[in-house]
């Protein structure tokens, strides 16, 4: 697969994201699959941030550590990122009088790298254009370096600024013309992109958080309660920003305990509600998780991972909270832990999270991470007719309600432990949603026999859930010599590597876990019995899925590729790490 990459760097607030986004959208319109990766620091202005675009006419969902074009808003990028440019690449910058130290100049020359200075201030002054148009100027220069046609860019600009009036649009167009002319006059040789595939043009370009927000809305969720915490904040922002369209009940809570309790109260009342947070906020929610376990209340909590401990690396990524999700909260109760991996399943798995929560009347934790939450995916528009709404043993029919007795609510003798649930405000025999150990009606009952009966009732749901869940997905050779095991955001990059020329034809496959707890191991053990090599790939220090696998079936995956530096696995990095397996 041919892929090229482009990285825009600068201080936060300078316009890095806006240049990145417009180029990303533009390339998609021009017929490329674009993957946008953002890096930034935990501050509002200043710092050093990056927006990288990896581009191909074929599907890709990963970033490389090196780029073909490096765009620098200020000299920090020139000082920090210059070595990330590939042989034959281009550095575009707007820092007047900049000169690389001689050693670097030699390296740049040896690597055939072209350095282009775009005098943004001078051009704007000449045009009598306001400073804010500097971003458009830079964008058009980048666009020309990518060998792309003006028309697509102009169309996008009209779409974005059209509502501000024709004068503004024309000013933007003049900037585009100036930027294009500058690059052409400077005789810089643009990159040659592989031939486009126009199927991408009608795709969406969106973040994992937006994808998840759409999935939550699609799944019938009518209330969202959150407390801001990176990287779960973009999900709160997206759903909250759409409240006038969706007419959902939105609450920015005073803390995460409030958020999870409000979600629980709303679920108990019978709507579909969700909350989202990151590690520290999730820690605060855990007591309430346990409460939902014993009152047998559906609950949906999104846990967007970032590296800890404590505040850790607030704006970076990791897969370090799997065991937290599996083990959080006191007492023993059933739960489902799911992880999304990209923009497709961030959408698809959310209605399912609600379905499982309703069907098993227990908490569902959906893991995502900073990488998925904030990366931009080129995504085929979702099929909005496919998702099911399954509410399990929820009784709303008046005739059935009339037959219910209080003791049906927590009846320990029911099949799979799934007793009927009915809602406050519906005419039926009433019950107590009891956080103390209780009898079938919800009355406090501290007897030993009742404690056993109710524990067994609740945990029977876990057995039923384990049986109902699908086995993990195997992608690649159906009978592989080399088996990779992964979950979450690492799936995308593993997929990209296995699709590369070097891996084509090899007997290799990856087993991807979306449903992580309860853990299915039958398919894994089957594959392991035939595979010659098994490798675990995870973005954490302990190999947490590996530990779970060992705990559940005794299999110890010794070969492990682990990463815990706050960065996702990069394409070339993983490619290098996996290549020795082929020999």
């Amino acid at each position: 697969m041919k892929r090229i990459s482009l990285k825009v760097t600068g201080a936060q607030g300078q316009g890095v994201n806006s240049v990145g986004e417009i180029c990303g959208k533009g390339l998609k319109h021009a017929g490329y699959c674009v993957f946008g990766y953002r890096e930034y620091m935990s501050l509002i202005k200043g710092g050093h941030s990056g927006y990288q675009l990896d581009v191909s006419p074929e599907k890709l969902e990963s970033s490389e550590t090196t780029v073909d074009i490096l765009v620098n808003f200020n000299h920090h990028g020139l000082m920090q990122n210059w070595q990330e440019v590939k042989k034959g690449g281009i550095i575009l910058h707007q820092t007047p009088m900049w000169e690389f130290p001689s050693e670097q100049q030699k390296w740049l020359k040896d690597n055939d790298i072209t350095v282009v200075y775009l005098p943004v201030e001078d051009i704007l002054k000449k045009m009598k254009a306001p400073n804010i148009l500097g971003n458009v100027l830079i964008t058009s220069a980048v666009w020309t370096l990518l060998g792309q046609d003006d028309d697509v860019l102009k169309e996008l600009v009209r779409k974005q600024f059209g509502h501000k009036g024709e004068e503004i649009v024309q000013m933007n167009f003049r900037c585009i013309d100036e930027g294009t002319a500058f690059i052409r006059d400077d005789s810089v040789q643009p990159l040659t992109l592989p031939a486009p595939d126009l199927k991408w043009a009608n795709h969406m370009y969106l973040t994992g958080s937006e994808a998840m927000g759409l999935g939550i809305i699609h799944g019938g969720c009518r209330m969202y309660v959150g407390y801001p915490m990176t990287p779960s904040s973009p999900l709160l922002s997206y759903i909250a920003d759409k409240q006038n369209e969706t007419e959902m009940v939105i609450k920015q809570a005073e803390d995460e305990i409030t958020a999870v309790q409000m979600m629980s109260g709303a679920m108990h009342m019978g709507t579909r509600a969700a909350t989202g947070t990151s590690g520290g906020g999730f820690d605060l929610m855990t007591e309430s998780l346990s409460l939902n376990g014993i009152i047998e209340n559906p609950a949906v909590i999104v846990l967007a991972q970032r590296p800890g401990p404590a505040t850790g690396l607030p704006t970076w990524t990791c897969q370090g909270d799997l065991l937290l999700a599996v083990g959080a909260a006191h007492g023993e109760f059933p739960r489902l832990v799911i992880s999304v991996s990209d923009s497709q399943d961030s959408f698809d798995l959310m209605p399912e999270a609600f379905n499982y929560a309703d069907e098993y009347q227990t908490p569902v934790i959906v893991l995502t991470d900073k990488h998925i939450a904030e990366a931009l995916y080129t995504q085929v528009p979702y099929d909005v007719t496919k998702a099911e709404i399954r509410r399990g043993n929820l009784v709303t029919d008046p005739k059935k309600l009339a037959k219910l007795k209080s003791a049906d609510r927590y009846d320990p003798t029911v099949k799979d432990g799934i007793s009927p649930r009915w809602l406050p405000g519906t005419e039926a025999d009433v019950y107590c949603a009891q956080g103390d150990e209780h009898d079938a009606e919800g009355n406090v009952d501290e007897s030993a026999s009742n404690a056993i009966a109710q524990m067994q009732k609740r945990m029977a749901k876990m057995t039923a859930l384990h049986n109902a869940l699908p086995e993990p997905d195997l992608i690649g050779d159906s009978n592989p010599d080399i088996l990779l095991v992964c979950w979450g955001s690492t799936r995308s990059v593993v997929d990209d590597v296995l699709k590369s020329e070097e891996f084509a034809g090899a007997s290799i496959a990856y087993l991807h876990y979306s449903f992580l707890w309860p853990l299915k191991t039958e398919k894994l053990l089957q594959l392991v019995s035939k595979a010659k090599k098994i490798v675990l790939i995870e973005g954490n220090y302990n190999g947490q899925l590996g530990k779970l696998i060992r705990q559940e079936c005794g299999l110890n995956i010794e070969e492990r590729i682990l990463k815990y530096d706050g960065r996702p696995f990069f394409y070339d990095e993983l490619h290098r790490a996996l290549t020795p397996l082929l020999s």
């Binding site: 969406m204 709404i389 405000g425 107590c432 949603a433």
Partner: protein, 295 residues
């Protein structure tokens, strides 16, 4: 006072359950429990039409002593659960009960934001000025010089002035009752339940086992009905003054009410045209329009 006896409507027996009460003899919880049931009956609510949410503490052991849809949650966390329930279905009256320990220590943050948010719900404070269920430790509302379990010399902290605190949050409804005056509590609860936003109801109650200062008799001799003395509940400053000043006697009754402030739910602009509740709206939602901005 009138208790409906007509057939078909709810009566006191509708709320009866044969789960035996476990409160101490002389506990104020009995009075509050009885008054609440009576208020619900007088308002014509059936047990299935309401949700009663209980915090953890002695009062919370009443969660299964009233036949209604009830909930018994975590210590200090009843307010946000109840608020979430009330926003999901504002047609179902939601009443939250909490003790002074849970509401002014563990969950005091929720109190601040519930008052400020003006959720459409009622909160009843079981105020016996100590942690009864954990065997009589001081709460933040216990008098400073009162020796308690785990504080034999009295607490070093100053007592939290709960009424001054609540009034500082600009509440829309504040009432105070006494667990020995069922008739007055019924009047307070009924008004609270019909209030537009967040109704804060402080019920002073005896703890015969652990609170040896504010006993039933002591409270009885100190409380007076401010409304019968002509207090105007629309007067915020006066309400705050008589609520805070308990030097000689303690005001009870409906101290403050403002129906002009919309509830949290009414403030939600996207919900204003909706006739349905979030509970009724759960269905697969077409997101085609929302997807367009990403293409």
């Amino acid at each position: 006072m009138r208790i409906p006896l007509q057939t078909g409507g709810p009566n006191m027996h509708s709320y009866y359950t044969d789960t035996p009460c476990t409160w101490c003899d002389g506990c104020g919880d009995y009075g509050i429990w009885t008054a609440m049931k009576r208020a619900l009956v007088e308002l014509g609510y059936h047990p299935w039409q309401i949700l009663l949410c209980y915090d953890v503490g002695c009062h919370g052991n009443g969660a299964d002593k009233t036949r209604a849809y009830t909930f018994h949650g975590l210590h200090g966390r009843v307010l946000p659960f109840a608020a979430g329930a009330s926003l999901a279905n504002p047609n179902v009256p939601v009443i939250a009960f909490g003790g002074d320990g849970a509401s002014f220590s563990e969950g005091v943050g929720h109190m601040v934001h519930s008052v400020r948010s003006n959720y459409p719900m009622t909160f009843v404070l079981h105020n016996n000025a100590n942690y009864g269920l954990t065997t009589g430790q001081a709460s933040s509302l216990t008098w400073q010089d009162q020796p308690m379990n785990s504080s034999p010399n009295g607490i070093p902290e100053r007592t939290l002035p709960s009424m001054d605190f609540i009034f500082s949050l600009e509440p829309t409804f504040v009432a105070r009752g006494f667990s020995g005056n069922i008739e007055q509590m019924v009047r307070i609860f009924k008004t609270a339940l019909q209030h537009r936003g967040f109704a804060y109801v402080d019920i002073l109650q005896a703890c015969p086992t652990y609170n040896h200062l504010a006993t039933h008799d002591w409270l009885l001799s100190h409380v007076y009905d401010a409304n019968s003395e002509g207090h105007d509940p629309s007067n915020f400053e006066e309400a705050r003054r008589i609520a805070v000043d308990t030097t000689d006697r303690i005001s009870t009754g409906i101290l403050y009410q403002n129906e002009d402030i919309p509830s949290f739910y009414e403030r939600l602009i996207p919900r204003q045209q909706r006739k349905t509740t979030a509970v009724e709206e759960v269905e697969r939602t077409d997101v085609s329009e929302l997807m367009k901005e990403f293409v």
